[in-house]
Amino acid sequence: MKRRDFLAAVAGGVVGLGRKGAGGGGLIRLGRDDSMAGWMLIPMDASQPQQLKAYGVIFRSLKAGWKTEWLLNYRAGSFLLERDARTERDAALVGVSAQFLTDSDVLDIRGQIASGNMEAIPLEKAPKVAVYQSPSAQPWDDAVRIALAYADIEHDKLWDAEVLGGQLKNYEWLHLHHEDFTGQYSKFYLTYSGSPWLADAVQRNTQMAKQWGFANVAELKKQVARRIRTFVENGGFLFAMCTATETLEIALAAEGVDVAAAYADGTPPDAAANAKLRWDRTMAFQNGHLELSPAIASFSDIDGHQVNNTPLRQQLGAFKLFNFSAKIDPVPAMLVQCHRQIIPDFYGLTTSFIQSRLKPGVTVLADEPGAPWVKYIHGDYGKGTWTFLGGHDPEDPQHQVGDPATDLTLHPQSPGYRLILNNVLFPAAKKRELKT
C-alpha cells in the first residue's frame, strides 16, 4: 500500500469512529482528495445551483437525526453538517452542490463567523409540518405546497375538520395560503359565478359548516381562525401568505360582527362593522377598514396593492430584505437568509401590508423603500410566532385563477421561494435559547 493511500485509510477510519457514516458515500468529488474532510458545507450563495432543494436535504437530514448548523449571513445562509453517506447521496441525487471541509477549514469558517455579522445556529429537529388547505384545492395553487413538494419536505394537509377536531397540537408548523377566513370565497363569488371550482368550494364549505353546527361558513371560518390563534399562543409557528394573512386577522377581529356579504351568509354585512371590530384580538394588524362591497375582490385597506380594486390598484415594484444582526436578532436574521436582498414583488389577493396598519412590536422583515406598505412581517404571540408574506406566488407575479402551475425546476434559485423555506427550517432552531 502506498503511503498516501495508507494515510487516507487511517484518516477515514478515525473520522468514521467519530462520525457515523462519514466518508462512506464519496458521491461528490471535488478536485482534491476529500477523504480527510469530515464536514459538509452546503453553500447557499449564487454558486448553489439548487438552493430550494438544499432545504429539503437539510430537512431530511434533521429528520434522520443528524444535526446541522445554519450559518446565518455566511455565504447567504449556508448549512454546515457532519458528513454522512446518506445526506451526501441525497444531495447528489437532487443536484445540491456541497463542499467537503476538514476540521481546520471549519475552524477558519468559525473564525470568520465570530468576527463578522454572522452566527451559527444549531438546527436540531425537523418540525412536523401541516398545511391548511381544502381537500379540493390543487397542490399547485399554493406556493408553499409547491415549495414543499419541490424540496421534498414531508407535510400533512389539514382542513377545517382537523383544526376543529384539535389536531393542530400534533404539529409545530402550520401554513395558510389564500384561504378566505371571512367566509366569502375570496370575494370571487360574483366574478366566477358558475365556475365548477367555485361551486365545489361553496358546496364543501357549506357542508362543513353544517356538519360542525355553524349557522354559516363565515362563522365556521371565524372559529377555525380562533383555533389557529390558539395554536400560535400555545407555541406553534404560523406562516401565512396571500389572503390568509389579512382575512385571518379580520376573522379574529370580527368575532360577533357580521362582515360577510349577503351571498355568503344570507344577510348583508353590518353597516357599522368597521366600528365594531376588535383589533385587540388579532396578532399583526390594527385599525383596518373593511371593503364591504361584494363586487370588489378586496377585503380591507390593510393590503397596500389592492390588485382587484382598479381605482386603488398599485403597480408592482421590488421589496428589500432587512439586514438584521445575526448575533443579536437571530430569528429575523434566519427568516431573511437569501442570496438576493432585492426581490421583484408579486401580486396576490393580499400583496402587501400598509405600515400604519401594523401593531406596535411587529418586526418588518422586508419592505419597498419609499412605499407606504411592507411585504414580509413577523411577530410573537403567546409562546409562538407568526410570519406573514404578502402575495401569491413569487415566480408568477400576475397570478390569475386558472393559470398553469409554477414549475420550480425552472426557478431552482428563486429568492422568493427561499423566504418560504427559511420559515420551514426556522422552527428547527427554536429549542436553542434565542436572544429575541
Binding site: 458521491l27 461528490i28 441525487l93 437532487v94 413538494a149 419541490y150 390569475q400 393559470d403
Partner: protein, 587 residues
C-alpha cells in the same frame, strides 16, 4: 465605403439645391424626393441605418412633409436609438401640416419612445385639439401605454376617450386592455363586438386572442361558440381553434357558419384554408384539403380546378392518398388539360402510390406525367419507386430503376440496399458518397444516425442486422425486433451489441411497445455498463418504466444514473424527471 446609393443621394441633393437650406425645396426637380426615399429604403433594408437616416433627411429637405420619408426616418432612428434627433424634421413637417394625423402619431410615438410622460400627454392633447372627434389620438396614446405594460394609465386614457366618443371606436383598445389584464373572456366579448362592427378587425382580434392561456380557452370558446349569437362569433371561435392547432375542431365550428352568399363564402373558405396551411400538422393538412374541396365546389372554371389541385396537395400532405386521388382523377386521365400546378400534385400522388406499395401504378403514372415534370422531380420519383421495390424485397428491379442515376439520392438508396444485405462496409461507403444533401432532412438525419451506429459495429458483415433493418423498413416491427435481438447476440458486447440493443429499444419505444423496449434497454447496461450509450439507455429505460406505471423502478433507475454517471450530460434531465416521478413538480 460609399456605395452607389449613397453617391446617388449626394448627387440628388446637389441637384436639389446644394443639400440644405430653405431654397432646396423650391429648386427641387419633380420626383427627387421620391428617388431619395427609394434609395434610403434600400439602405434601411441593408440595415445601414445612419446612411438611411441621411437619405430620409435629404428627402425631407426637398419635401418637408413627405410622409414616407418621415416614417422611414422614425424607423431607422428608432433602430439606431437616435429617435430624439427626429425633432427638427418633425417640427418642420408639423409647421406645414399641423392637422395631419400621421405626423401627430409620429410625434406621440417619439415622445412615448423617449419616455417623457408630460410631453406624451401634451402631444396627445395637442392632437386631440386638432381632431376632437377622432379616436386616432386615443388609439395611439393608449397603444403606447399598453405596449409598455402601463395598463392602469392606458385604462385612464381609454376612460376619457370612451366618455367623449362612446365605446364603439375604442373597442379594440379596450379589448387589448382586458387581454393585458388577463381578463380574456371580457377581451373576447369586446373583440366580438368590435369585429361585428368592422369585419376587417378579425385578424387583429384573432392575433390578440390567440394568446389566451390554455386554461382559459374553454371559457373563451364557450362564449364565442355558444353564448354570443351569430355566425361571426362562431367564425371567431373557429379562427382561434385553428390558431391553437385544433384544425378539426375549428372546421367543425366554421362549417355551419359559412355565409350563404357565394362571394363571402369564397372569402371565408380561402382565408381559412390559407391559415390552415400554417399549422403543418397532418390534421391541419387534411382540414385544408376538406376546405379547399368545398371551395372548389363554390368556384367555377379554372379557379375551381386549381382549388381541386390544391386540395389534392393538401390531402397528399396529410397522407390521405385516397382523397388526393379523388381530387386528381379527372386530371390524371388527361395530363394535357390539367391546370398549372397539377404536375406538382401528381408528383405527390405518384410518391404516395409508391410509398403505399402500388409500385406498378406509380410507374404507369410517372410514364404519363414525366414529360410535364422537371428532371429533378422525375429523378426523385424514380428513387422513390426504387425504394418501393426494395421494401417489396425486389432488389434487382430496384437497381434497374436507378441504373442510370448517379445522383446522391441514388447513392443513398444503394447504401440502404447494401445495409439490408448486411454489408456494412459498402453501406458506409455509399452513405458517405450520398452525404447529408440526399433526400429530405429527415432522411439525412436517419442516414447519419444509422451510419453512426454501423461505425460502432466491429464486423463488416452482419446479415442478421441487415434483415432486421429491412423488416423495419417493411413495417414489420415485431419481426424486426426479434431479428435485432439475434443480431445483437452475435456481436461483441462492446463491439456493437450495446448499440444495436439500444437501437432496438428505441424502435420498440417509438412504437409504444414498452414491454419489448425495456429488456433491450436493460440489455445495454448488461452488455456495456461503462459505454457511452449506457446512461442514455438507462434514461430511456426509466422513462419507459414510468410510462408503464412502474414509478418505483423508474426512480431507482434515475437514481442509479445520477450517481453512477455524474458527468453525463443527461444528469440534469434525469434529476428533472426524478422530480416528476416522485410527484415533486407538476406534469
Amino acid at each position: 465605403m460609399i456605395n452607389g446609393r449613397v453617391l446617388r443621394i449626394l448627387a440628388l441633393l446637389v441637384a436639389a439645391g446644394g443639400g440644405g437650406g430653405s431654397g432646396a425645396a423650391a429648386q427641387a426637380r419633380p420626383g427627387a424626393a421620391a428617388e431619395l426615399v427609394t434609395d434610403a429604403l434600400d439602405l434601411e433594408r441593408d440595415e445601414r441605418y445612419p446612411e438611411a437616416a441621411e437619405g430620409f433627411r435629404a428627402a425631407l429637405r426637398v419635401e418637408p412633409s413627405n410622409l414616407s420619408a418621415l416614417l422611414g426616418l422614425e424607423r431607422v432612428l428608432k433602430s439606431s436609438r437616435q429617435l430624439p434627433t427626429i425633432f427638427p424634421q418633425l417640427q418642420r413637417a408639423l409647421s406645414r401640416d399641423s392637422r395631419n394625423p400621421v405626423l401627430r402619431a409620429i410625434e406621440l410615438r417619439v415622445w412615448t419612445g423617449i419616455g417623457n410622460d408630460d410631453s406624451v400627454t401634451a402631444s396627445a392633447e395637442r392632437w386631440i385639439q386638432t381632431a376632437p372627434e377622432s379616436p386616432d389620438p386615443y388609439h395611439e396614446w393608449a397603444g403606447g401605454l399598453l405596449a409598455a405594460g402601463r395598463l392602469d394609465d392606458a385604462q385612464r386614457v381609454l376612460g376619457v376617450a370612451t366618455a367623449k366618443l362612446g365605446q364603439p371606436p375604442m373597442l379594440p383598445d379596450l379589448a387589448q386592455l382586458a387581454a393585458g389584464r388577463g381578463q380574456w373572456v371580457e377581451a373576447a366579448r369586446l373583440w366580438h363586438t368590435a369585429v361585428a362592427g368592422a369585419e376587417q378587425l378579425a385578424d387583429l382580434a384573432n392575433e390578440n386572442l390567440t394568446a389566451v392561456p390554455e386554461a382559459t380557452r374553454p371559457q373563451v370558446l364557450t362564449l364565442l361558440s355558444r353564448t354570443l349569437p351569430g355566425a361571426a362569433a362562431r367564425r371567431m371561435a373557429a379562427d382561434l381553434e385553428l390558431g391553437w392547432g385544433h384544425a378539426p375542431q375549428a372546421w367543425a365550428l366554421l362549417e355551419p357558419a359559412i355565409p350563404a352568399d357565394r362571394l363571402q363564402a369564397e372569402q371565408v373558405l380561402q382565408r381559412f384554408a390559407d391559415r390552415a396551411r400554417l399549422s403543418r400538422s397532418r390534421d391541419s393538412y387534411r382540414v385544408r384539403g376538406v376546405v379547399l374541396e368545398r371551395l372548389a365546389g363554390v368556384l367555377t372554371g379554372v379557379a375551381s380546378e386549381r382549388a381541386r389541385v390544391d386540395a389534392a396537395r393538401a390531402y397528399a400532405d396529410a397522407g390521405d392518398a385516397v382523397a388526393a386521388e379523388r381530387m386528381l382523377t379527372r386530371l390524371a386521365a388527361d395530363s394535357a388539360r390539367a391546370p398549372t400546378g397539377a404536375n406538382s400534385a401528381m408528383v405527390l400522388l405518384i410518391a404516395m402510390m409508391a410509398d403505399n406499395g402500388r409500385v406498378e401504378e406509380a410507374e404507369a403514372q410517372l410514364r404519363e406525367w414525366s414529360g410535364r415534370m422537371n428532371g429533378e422531380d422525375a429523378a426523385q420519383l424514380r428513387q422513390r419507386i426504387s425504394w418501393a421495390w426494395i421494401v417489396k424485397g425486389d432488389f434487382l428491379t430496384a437497381k434497374t430503376v436507378i441504373a442510370d442515376d448517379s445522383s446522391i439520392g441514388s447513392m443513398a438508396i444503394r447504401g440502404w440496399m447494401a445495409l439490408f444485405t448486411g454489408d456494412l462496409k459498402i453501406a458506409t461507403k455509399n452513405f458517405r458518397a450520398a452525404g447529408p444533401g440526399a433526400g429530405t432532412r429527415e432522411q439525412a438525419v436517419q442516414r447519419t444516425q444509422i451510419a453512426g451506429l454501423i461505425q460502432r459495429i466491429e464486423p463488416d458483415s452482419v446479415p442478421d442486422f441487415g434483415r432486421a433493418l429491412l423488416l423495419l423498413a417493411q413495417g414489420d416491427t415485431t419481426a424486426a425486433l426479434t431479428q435485432f435481438a439475434t443480431a445483437a447476440e452475435s456481436l461483441p458486447p462492446r463491439g456493437g451489441r450495446a448499440d444495436v440493443l439500444f437501437y432496438a429499444g428505441q424502435v420498440a419505444e417509438a412504437k409504444g411497445d414498452h414491454a419489448r423496449a425495456q429488456p433491450f434497454l436493460a440489455g445495454v447496461l448488461l452488455a456495456d455498463p461503462q459505454g457511452a450509450v449506457a446512461p442514455v439507455a438507462e434514461f430511456h429505460l426509466a422513462q419507459s418504466l414510468f410510462a408503464t406505471g412502474n414509478a418505483k423502478e423508474s426512480q431507482d433507475r434515475l437514481e442509479h444514473l445520477i450517481l453512477t454517471y455524474p458527468q453525463s450530460a443527461l444528469v440534469p434531465q434525469a434529476r428533472r424527471m426524478l422530480d416528476r416521478v416522485r410527484g415533486r413538480t407538476p406534469g
